[in-house]
């Protein structure tokens, strides 16, 4: 009976524990927003300090307004979203490069496969893992992103990869995402 009563109480407060990272903007006094933002900035600051790339983490999060209302899961999702943008740019670059140089034919096939895995497997896995509270599999997705993008880069000979910049950005974001996700285990 005791546990039943307890269950009821906890169930009543469950909705307040919701982890939606995209909360509606606060419509209260400026002072309140300032307070909240300062507190949240602390979360961004502390989170990024615990990643291997503070600058990248901090600048990526600051450039997305959702960061100010997000918890750590939400911050992870914002980094994954940023990674998704870069990966999409990489796919566009791959499509543009097709036919540009005979030496690129095979590497670009490899890169298409790599980015297909990143966009269709790794990123959905990371997003679902973060949304559903299963960081383990989100970590798997980001760990594999690093592997895939390295495979793409290495498929070009003699450091002549036309995708180095994008690959490196995707790689670096995957490392930041992975380290934020590990904070959630």
């Amino acid at each position: 009976m005791k546990s039943f009563a307890f269950s009821c109480i906890v169930l009543a407060i469950l909705p307040s524990l919701s982890t939606s990272y995209a909360l509606p903007p606060l419509k209260k006094s400026n002072h309140h927003i300032f307070m909240v933002r300062e507190k949240v900035n602390d979360l961004i600051e502390n989170t990024c300090r615990n990643t291997p790339d503070y600058q990248l983490c901090f600048s990526t999060l600051l450039s997305d307004p959702r960061s100010f209302d997000a918890d750590t899961y939400g911050l992870g999702l914002i980094i994954v979203d940023a990674l998704k943008d870069k990966a999409t740019s990489a796919v566009n670059a791959i499509n543009r490069l097709k036919g540009s140089n005979p030496e690129f034919i095979r590497p670009l096939i490899k890169c298409s496969i790599s980015y297909n895995a990143i966009l269709k497997a790794d990123i959905p896995e990371a997003i679902e893992g973060l949304r559903k509270g299963v960081p383990k599999f989100a970590e798997y997705g980001m760990a594999d992103t690093a592997v895939e993008v390295q495979g793409c880069e290495n498929s070009f000979k003699q450091s002549n990869s036309p995708l180095t910049d994008l690959n490196k950005q995707v790689y670096d974001l995957s490392i930041v995402a992975k380290s934020i996700i590990r904070m959630l285990l």
Binding site: I113, S114, K120, E125, R131, G133, K136, Y140, K157
Partner: protein, 682 residues
């Protein structure tokens, strides 16, 4: 945990591997002593097999009718290789959904050099022949509960019906009568209620004294809160347990105060308390201390939280899939989860989310207080022994009341890239189930051994007795194709050399050693599996004996993956740990090879290592078995028994083909029997 560094591309090295041995190898083939039956016996056996086959087919046909009509009929493939080890059909290529996954786990591969170009043929070879895995797509045993109900073993596993990556998790379901040959059944449970909308996760079954079955499982609610729910079979008389009902009063447990709402999962099987109540434990954490909460219940619907925890260990992080069970100190059989008394020790096992390994410890359970104390605090849960030093996670045990044994079952993930998994169309599988016993000889560890049923798959037994393996030599063992093997090997190291060698204070650790290529006075020596003729790829499984300055010996049991594949996008490393060896004992190992899986059991199962291996050349007929001794000072004498392993054919090819094979095979068997009878009478 090392993160991978970014590597600028470099020209590939001509050969990525240093040879295991120097130029002074001595390579001599050894012929097996084959027990070849005479032609007459062969004919007789063939005839009997054919009759048995027909009976089996008819019998299975009856069983198959119980299955959903949507289930492919895979009888034909199950039996077509009953007479010989036939190559398995290629796996369907290319996942339309385009979703894949796998796991490099927390330990990242950092690839260098030109990426390897996998061919479909190589990838198809990786699929296992006698391990459980779904027909396609992703599975993780992370959330499953094996059980035996009315003569059928049931496996419920986490399954993504939409792709080879984790996601969209539902409960896959399969049944077996021998833990080896499995039948896929329809999906048992999906996320369709507010209290499991974000996931139907781990469950554990408890069989009540009246034979009733109850299942507790973790649901992730619409607000991603982890809660425990109750489910039970819709028709308790159905041995296949096809339909499941969720209790309308779910959830039955929510996170207690002080526990984060995402740290409350994986209820255990219940056991009886001295007060006549049921007790369960659930994994959690407080800050970085892994704990297991304890609840009592009488009806599985309402629960009482006990004060304190069953056990907790600082620094171990979230405890997943906690398991708690007794082992007998005196008997050779397993125990029911509720058994207790003076002749019993209790095991606590936790799967650590932080490093994805399964740790256990032996200890004493105080049923009155609901507490457990480890025998040796330095070998506590999460900081001491592991079930397996390779790739093995989220395991659980169940008590097999018919065979009176406790069976442990773990999940093995992929260590290749997700791009490869997309191409393969599947990812992850279950290990071979293992019986678990207390090691009465050492008193410090468990013994894990493949269930006896796996021996039914053995074919073409060969033995090699008293083979002398000199320091720095590799000896091929003629066992034919070695992609599916069961090998039992015993080693005796030269006693004189053991005594002569000077002791050192250097500690040997498998994972940080140079692997099988690092030569010591008394090791490494053992087997090379999945090796091609010139050992351009090889996976050594070996012992390494280190002699201390005090003259004592410490033996390690390791598996070295660093030369297992020419591919650069797979995880490689050296797995293993120390293994207790008592005075007068020979060193022994058993190795099960099943394509991309190598499961190794050292010293009767005191130390176990499961590896994922993705060779590119040592596949199909090129996969060979060798003995090796890379010690510098000691020769070893080895005795080997090896069997090729039949396929369990857990996965079918496609429906129509199976039906066709089934009819053809039945007809052929009948004709064969008639022919034998004709020959006999006329």
């Amino acid at each position: 945990m090392a993160s991978p560094g970014w590597h600028e591309p470099s020209n590939p090295a001509p050969s990525p591997y240093a040879p295991l041995l120097g130029d002074d190898d001595q390579r001599t083939g050894v012929k097996a002593k084959c027990r070849r039956p005479t032609k007459f016996i062969l004919l007789l056996v063939a005839g009997l097999l054919a009759v048995g086959l027909l009976v089996a087919l008819v019998d299975r046909d009856g069983y198959a009718k119980k299955l959903s009509s949507s289930m492919p009929n895979d009888e034909a493939t199950s039996t077509s290789s009953g007479l010989e080890s036939t190559p398995r059909p290629a796996v369907a290529r290319g996942v339309a959904e385009g979703v894949s996954a796998k796991s490099n786990g927390p330990f990242l591969f950092a690839g260098e050099g030109t990426p390897f170009s996998w061919t479909n043929q190589m990838l198809a070879w990786q699929r296992t022949a006698f391990h459980f895995q779904p027909r396609k797509n992703w599975m993780n045993g992370n959330k499953f509960s094996p059980l035996l109900y009315k003569g059928w073993y049931h496996l419920f596993y986490q399954y993504n019906p939409d792709g080879a990556v984790w996601g969209n998790i539902v409960w896959g379901h399969a049944v077996s009568t021998d833990l080896i040959h499995w039948r896929h059944l329809p999906i048992a449970m999906v996320a369709d209620q507010w209290y499991d909308q974000n996931g139907v996760w781990t469950g554990s079954a408890t069989i009540l004294p009246d034979g009733q079955l109850v299942m507790l499982y973790t649901g992730s609610t619409n607000a991603t809160v982890q809660v425990q729910n109750l489910a039970y079979p819709a028709d308790p008389s159905d041995p296949l347990l096809i339909e499941w009902v969720k209790y309308p009063g779910n959830p039955v447990l929510v996170p207690p105060p002080g526990i984060h709402f995402k740290d409350f999962r994986d209820p255990t099987t219940a056991w009886y308390t001295s007060e006549g109540k049921w007790r369960i434990t659930i994994g959690s954490k407080v800050n970085k201390t892994g704990i297991s909460l304890v609840y009592d219940t009488v009806d599985f619907k309402s629960y009482e939280l006990l004060d304190g925890v069953l056990h907790g260990v600082p620094g171990t992080g979230m405890w997943e899939c906690v398991d708690f069970y007794p082992v007998s100190r005196t008997d050779e059989n397993g125990l029911d989860t509720s058994d207790d008394g003076s002749g019993v020790k209790h095991v606590v096992k936790a799967s650590l989310d932080d490093d994805r390994n399964d740790y256990y410890a032996l200890g004493t359970y105080d049923g009155v207080r609901g507490k457990w104390i480890p025998d040796d605090p330095t070998l506590d849960v999460g900081i001491g022994l592991r079930y397996d030093y390779g790739n093995f996670y989220a395991s659980k045990t169940f008590y097999d009341q018919e065979k009176r044994r406790r069976v442990l079952w773990g999940w093995i993930t992929e260590t290749d890239s997700e791009a490869a998994d997309i191409a393969k169309g599947w990812a992850s599988l279950q290990a071979i189930p293992r019986t678990v016993l207390y090691d009465k000889k050492t008193g410090t560890n468990l013994l894990q051994w493949p269930v006896e049923e796996v021996e039914k798959l053995r074919l073409n037994g060969k033995s090699f007795d008293g083979v002398e393996v000199k320091p720095g030599s590799v000896i091929p063992l003629d066992v034919g194709s070695a992609a599916q093997l069961d090998v039992v090997a015993e080693f005796e190291i030269d006693k004189e050399a053991k005594e002569m060698v000077n002791g050192t204070d250097a500690e040997y650790v498998c994972s940080t050693s140079g692997g099988a290529a690092e030569r010591g006075a008394l090791g490494p020596f053992g087997l090379l599996v999945l090796a091609d003729n010139d050992q351009s790829e090889q996976t050594p499984v070996y012992f390494y004996i280190a002699k201390g300055t005090d003259g004592n010996f410490k033996t390690s049991f390791c598996s070295d993956l660093s030369r297992s594949s020419k591919a650069t996008d797979v995880r490689k490393g050296v797995y293993g740990s120390t293994v207790p060896v008592l005075e007068g004992e020979k060193l022994s190992m058993r190795v099960l090879v099943d394509h991309s899986i190598v499961e190794s059991f050292g010293q009767g199962g005191r130390t176990c290592i499961t590896s994922r291996v993705y060779p590119t050349n040592s596949v199909h007929e090129n996969a060979r078995l060798f003995l090796f001794n890379n010690a510098t000072d000691a020769k070893v004498k080895a005795s080997i028994r090896a069997w090729q392993m039949n396929s369990a054919n857990i996965y079918p090819s496609n429906d129509s083909m199976n039906k066709f094979n089934f009819v053809v095979l039945k007809s052929c068997s009948a004709i064969f029997i008639v022919a034998i009878l004709y020959g006999f009478f006329f």
